[in-house]
């Protein structure tokens, strides 16, 4: 409490609220488990088309997975996390109703995604994709920086650093784009899943149910 009190005079109340909420949001490890699942799914759908015969059922499933699985996972996993928390963890971690997402940020994210999509289509028409090494390096560094900024906690910063280094190592190796993505996403997914499970078990062990519930 004393530490928090002194911090209040150094930081603005918004930053403190953001930091405390970020810490609370990640205290049970569920977001990391969800990110791990998404990354592992990404790794599988990147690797599968290179490992099976073109036009085979597995190949078609992998292509459909690339198109459908990831958006579905990204849309449904936040709902799944919320449901698990409300059903099983509410007595341990309490209840919070977040504000709806800031429209300005959502619009920025959508605009960036559309810009990347247009750039991809344009590159496909011209047949001038950047070299695989550039894409892998940029994905690793970009993803690592994003993880560190969004996560803020030391374990996310470490994960971001691992992602950036892995991206750079893959960029300087002679792997294909699909294999590189499979390795990058697979490693990050496994790390995130492992870290999430450790945090979740730690949370269940140390955050015991209150003896006198509520107040």
């Amino acid at each position: 409490m004393n530490e928090t009190s002194s911090r209040l005079f150094e930081e603005s109340s918004e930053r403190i609220a953001g930091r405390l909420m970020q810490k609370a949001h990640n205290q049970d490890g569920l977001p990391e488990i969800a990110i791990g699942v998404v990354f592992l799914a990404l790794a599988v759908v990147c690797w599968l088309p290179t490992a099976v015969q073109p036009r085979s059922p597995a190949y078609v499933a992998a292509i459909c997975g690339q198109a459908l699985l990831i958006p579905i996972l990204c849309l449904r996993l936040p709902w799944a996390i919320k449901t698990v928390r409300r059903k099983f963890l509410i007595e341990r971690e309490g209840y919070v109703e977040s504000r709806p997402a800031n429209r300005k940020y959502v619009a920025i994210v959508i605009a960036i995604a559309i810009a990347f999509g247009i750039a991809g289509v344009f590159a496909a028409f011209r047949g001038s994709f950047p070299p695989a090494s550039w894409v892998l390096g940029a994905t690793g560094i970009g993803g690592g920086v994003l993880a560190a900024i969004a996560g803020k906690l030391p374990r996310f910063i470490t994960g971001g650093a691992v992602m950036a280094v892995t991206g750079l190592v893959l960029a300087f190796s002679a792997v294909s784009l699909a294999t590189g993505f499979a390795i990058l996403y697979g490693l990050m997914g496994a790390l995130s899943l492992l870290s999430g499970c450790v945090v979740f078990l730690h949370f269940l062990h140390f955050m015991r149910l209150p003896a006198e519930p509520g107040e």
């Binding site: 109340s13 918004e14 909420m21 205290q27 109703e97 509520g214």
Partner: protein, 98 residues
């Protein structure tokens, strides 16, 4: 300059207390939160948090709703319009003065 410094005297003492400022800042960032969440997030003790919530409720800065979820009592807290105004004013005064 001295006028800005003198504005510090206008600061609302109810939310100036660090524990209460932490609660109000947190509630400003969410729609609503329960007692347990506020306790976990702020690190305040049960008694301390309860006392701070009572003071904020009495000042009309937060609204408290007591309900149940199964056998567990659920104490929901949300920032009122008055609470938002006071927090905004607090921010302005502190920013202008320091």
């Amino acid at each position: 300059m001295s006028a800005k410094i003198q504005r510090l005297a206008e600061i609302d003492r109810v939310i100036h207390e660090p524990g209460r400022l932490m609660i109000v800042a947190l509630l400003a960032a969410v729609e609503e939160a329960d007692f347990q969440y506020l306790r976990q997030t702020t690190g305040l003790t049960q008694g301390n948090l309860s006392a701070h919530l009572t003071k904020l409720d009495e000042a009309g800065y937060i609204a408290i709703e007591k309900t149940f979820r199964g056998k567990y009592p659920l104490t929901l807290c949300r920032l009122t319009e008055r609470g938002k105004e006071v927090l905004d004013n607090y921010r302005k005064v502190i920013k202008a003065a320091l």
